[in-house]
C-alpha cells in the first residue's frame, strides 16, 4: 500500500458543506509545512474538488509511473528556511477541462477513493491530510473501511471536524461526530470557522454566522475544541489572486502585531507576488491562529501514536 511510508493520517470532516473544510485543510497543511513537517494532501471530494484551486495549481496534471500516480509537488522541503515539503493529489488533476461535471454514482466513487488510497506514491510523509466532501455517504464509508482495514492502527490519527457556529450547521456536524463514533475514528478536535468578521472600516466585529456553536457542540460530545477562526477576506484574496495579505497599522492577532510596515507596503504594491504560498501565508492574520490549532492537533496526534 502506498501509505506505508506515511506516519500520521488526519481526516478533515464536516457534515455540512461550505464550512471551510478545504480552507482548513489548506491552512493546516501550510502550518504543518512551516513547522518543518513533510505534508501530503489528498482531496477525495470527487464531484467538487477545491484543493487544486486552493494551492493555485489548477493546470497541473498527474504523472503516471509504473504501478501508480505521482502526486503534484506544491513546494519541496527547504532545510534552510525550516519548512517541509508539500504534495497534493486530487481528482481535479485528472479532468480534461476544469468546468467538466463528474457525475458518478456510489460504486464508482468507492472505487476511486480506494484507488486514491492504494495507488498514489506518497514518499515519506509526516502527515497526510485527507479533505472530504460533505456528508456521511459513499466517500466517507469507503475511506473509513479502507483505512481501518489497511492502515496501521498508529497511522490513522483521527479526524479534525470543521463547523461554522450557526445551529443549522452544527445540526449536520453533530451527525458527522456520531459517524466518527460509530466507525471508531477518533476525533482530534473541532474547529469553529467563520466566526466573526472585522469590518475593515470601523473595526467592529460582527458575528455573521453567530458565535460559540462549535464550542458548545465540542463540549456536548466531549471532544477537544481547537479554536475559533474568523473570516478574513485577505486570505481569500491570497488564495484567489496570490496577493500578499496587508493589514492596517494596529492589527494584532493573539497579541502578535500583524500590520504591514509602512515602507514595505509602499515598495511593493503589486497585485501578483511571485513568492511561494508558503512564504506569503505567514503574513496572513489567520496564520498565528492556525499555528496554535496545528500545535494542538500535533499534540493530540502524539497521544494517539503512543
Amino acid at each position: 500500500m502506498s501509505l506505508s511510508k506515511v506516519k500520521h493520517i488526519v481526516l478533515v470532516l464536516s457534515g455540512k458543506g461550505g464550512v471551510g473544510k478545504s480552507s482548513v485543510t489548506t491552512q493546516l497543511a501550510l502550518s504543518l509545512s512551516l513547522a518543518g513537517h513533510s505534508v501530503g494532501v489528498l482531496d477525495v471530494d470527487l464531484t467538487g474538488p477545491s484543493i487544486p484551486r486552493m494551492f493555485a495549481i489548477e493546470d497541473a496534471k498527474v504523472t503516471q509511473a509504473p504501478g501508480g500516480w505521482l502526486p503534484i509537488t506544491v513546494h519541496e522541503a527547504d532545510q534552510a528556511a525550516g519548512f517541509g515539503s508539500l504534495r497534493v493529489m486530487s481528482l481535479g488533476f485528472l479532468l480534461p477541462r476544469r468546468g467538466d461535471a463528474v457525475v458518478w454514482r456510489g460504486p464508482k466513487k468507492t472505487a476511486m477513493v480506494r484507488q486514491f488510497l492504494s495507488d498514489v506514491f506518497w514518499d515519506e510523509l509526516d502527515y497526510l491530510l485527507i479533505d472530504t466532501p460533505p456528508g456521511t455517504s459513499d466517500e466517507h464509508i469507503s475511506l473509513a473501511e479502507t483505512l481501518l482495514q489497511k492502515a496501521r492502527p498508529d497511522q490513522l490519527a483521527g479526524a479534525v471536524v470543521v463547523t461554522t457556529p450557526q445551529a443549522v450547521a452544527t445540526a449536520d456536524v453533530r451527525k458527522e461526530l456520531n459517524f466518527c463514533a460509530k466507525t471508531g475514528i477518533r476525533v482530534l478536535g473541532v474547529v469553529e470557522n467563520m466566526c466573526g468578521f472585522v469590518c475593515p472600516n470601523c473595526s467592529e466585529c460582527t458575528n455573521i454566522f453567530m458565535s460559540g456553536g462549535g464550542e458548545v457542540m465540542a463540549n456536548d460530545f466531549g471532544v477537544r475544541f481547537l479554536g475559533r477562526v474568523p473570516i478574513d477576506p485577505q486570505f481569500l484574496v491570497l488564495i484567489e489572486t496570490g496577493k500578499r495579505p496587508r493589514y492596517p497599522e494596529g492589527t494584532a492577532v493573539n497579541g502578535q502585531d500583524m500590520s504591514t510596515p509602512v515602507q514595505e507596503s509602499n515598495g511593493a504594491q503589486d497585485t501578483k507576488d511571485a513568492a511561494l504560498l508558503v512564504h506569503k501565508y505567514p503574513d496572513c492574520s489567520l496564520a498565528p491562529i492556525f499555528k496554535s490549532i496545528t500545535a494542538d492537533v500535533i499534540s493530540e496526534v502524539q497521544i494517539t501514536g503512543r
Partner: protein, 341 residues
C-alpha cells in the same frame, strides 16, 4: 490493480443508462460495479466473476416500473423546481426556504418542499418543524405542515434521535428519494421545491430520472461570489445541460456585507473573477439577482422563522423579492399573483 488514468466517464453515458428496478443481491456491490439498477447491470466487463452477475443479468430490463406510479402521484403538482449548486454551504436550503415562504405568502397557493439531502437535512430546522414525525396511512405518507399551505418532507422526520448519523451508500439514498416521490401524499400543489445536497451524484441523477416523465420546470442555481464556489457551480450547470434540465437562473448569495455599525459594505467573499453575474453571462443563463449577506437570515433559519415576516424592510428581503419576481417570470407566471404585496 494497475491504476488507470482514464478520463472520467462522460456524463452522457450515465444519463443514458437510467435506473431500473434494483434486484435482490446476494453479495455487496464490488469495485467498478456499474450499479445493479443500471442498464449494463450483469453485462458490463466488471461484472465477470461477480456473485451477483446472474441476478443482475436476469432482472427485468427496461425503465423502472415505479416511474409511472411517481408520475401519477405527482399529477396534481403544477410546477416542479429544483434548487441546485455544486458547492456546499452557499445557501441552497436557505434559498429553498425563502422561496417556499415567498410562494406561500399567497394563501391560494400550496407549496411543497422535498429535502433530498439525506446525509445533512437542514430544511426541517429552517422551517421550524424539526420535531415532526411522519404519519403513515393506507394512502401513503403524510408530509409535515410548516404552515397551512406549506408541506415538508425530509429524512429528519424519520430519525429516532435528532443527531443520528445517516450512513448510507448511494443505492439506499436512491430508494428513499423514490419513496419520497412515490409514497408521499403531496396532493394538489402549485409548487414542489426540491432541495438537493451539493455535488453531482446519486441524488441528482435519481431526482432527474424519477421526475423526467412528469416534467421538471427547471433548476435554480445558487452560488457565492468567489471563484472556488463558481468552479463547482460551473460543473453543476454542465450537468443540467447534459441532463436536459432547464436552468431557470443563477442567484448570487452572500454578495455584500453591510457593517451594522458604520454601514460600510464589504465584499467578504470577493468576486475576483466577476462573481455570479459574469458566470451567468459566460454560460448564457439568466441572472436572477444578488442577495446580500445579512446575519439575520441565518438567525431566522436557526429559529425556524420566516425571514420575510420577521424583517420585511431589510435590504436582503427586497433583493430576495426581486429574485422571486424574476424567477416567476422565467416559469411564465405573473409575479403579482405568485407573491402579492
Amino acid at each position: 490493480m494497475a491504476p488507470s488514468l482514464e478520463a472520467p466517464e462522460p456524463v452522457e453515458d450515465v444519463l443514458a443508462n437510467p435506473l431500473k428496478q434494483k434486484p435482490n443481491l446476494v453479495a455487496p456491490e464490488p469495485e467498478h460495479c456499474p450499479g445493479p439498477e443500471s442498464e449494463q447491470a450483469g453485462t458490463a466487463d466488471s461484472c465477470a466473476g461477480c456473485p451477483n452477475q446472474k441476478i443482475c443479468a436476469a432482472a427485468p430490463k427496461g425503465p423502472d416500473p415505479d416511474i409511472p406510479l411517481i408520475t401519477a402521484r405527482l399529477a396534481g403538482v403544477k410546477h416542479k423546481i429544483l434548487v441546485l449548486s455544486g458547492k456546499g454551504g452557499v445557501g441552497k436550503s436557505t434559498f429553498t426556504c425563502l422561496l417556499a415562504h415567498a410562494f406561500a405568502t399567497n394563501p391560494d397557493s400550496t407549496v411543497g418542499v422535498m429535502d433530498t439531502d439525506i446525509c445533512g437535512p437542514s430544511i426541517p430546522k429552517m422551517l421550524g418543524v424539526e420535531s415532526e414525525t411522519i404519519h403513515i396511512s393506507s394512502s401513503g405518507w403524510s408530509p409535515a405542515w410548516a404552515m397551512d399551505n406549506l408541506a415538508v418532507m425530509s429524512i429528519q422526520f424519520m430519525l429516532p434521535n435528532r443527531d443520528d448519523a445517516i450512513i448510507w451508500r448511494g443505492p439506499k439514498k436512491n430508494g428513499l428519494i423514490k419513496q419520497f416521490l412515490k409514497d408521499v401524499e403531496w396532493g394538489d400543489l402549485d409548487f414542489l421545491l426540491v432541495d438537493t445536497p451539493p455535488g453531482t451524484s446519486d441524488e441528482h441523477l435519481s431526482v432527474n430520472t424519477f421526475l423526467k416523465e412528469s416534467g421538471i420546470d427547471g433548476a435554480v442555481m445558487v452560488t457565492t461570489p468567489q471563484e472556488v464556489s463558481l468552479l463547482d457551480v460551473r460543473k453543476e450547470i454542465d450537468f443540467c445541460r447534459k441532463a436536459g434540465i432547464r436552468v431557470l437562473g443563477l442567484v448570487e448569495n452572500m454578495s455584500l456585507f453591510v457593517c451594522p455599525k458604520c454601514t460600510h459594505a464589504s465584499e467578504i467573499f470577493q468576486a475576483t473573477t466577476g462573481g455570479g453575474r459574469a458566470l451567468a453571462q459566460e454560460m448564457g443563463i439568466p441572472f436572477l439577482g444578488s442577495v446580500p449577506l445579512d446575519p439575520r437570515i441565518g438567525m431566522a433559519c436557526d429559529y425556524g422563522e420566516s425571514f420575510f415576516d420577521s424583517f420585511p424592510d431589510s435590504p436582503a428581503c427586497t433583493a430576495l423579492k426581486g429574485v422571486v419576481r424574476e424567477l416567476a417570470g422565467q416559469i411564465g407566471l405573473d409575479a403579482k399573483e405568485v407573491m402579492p404585496e
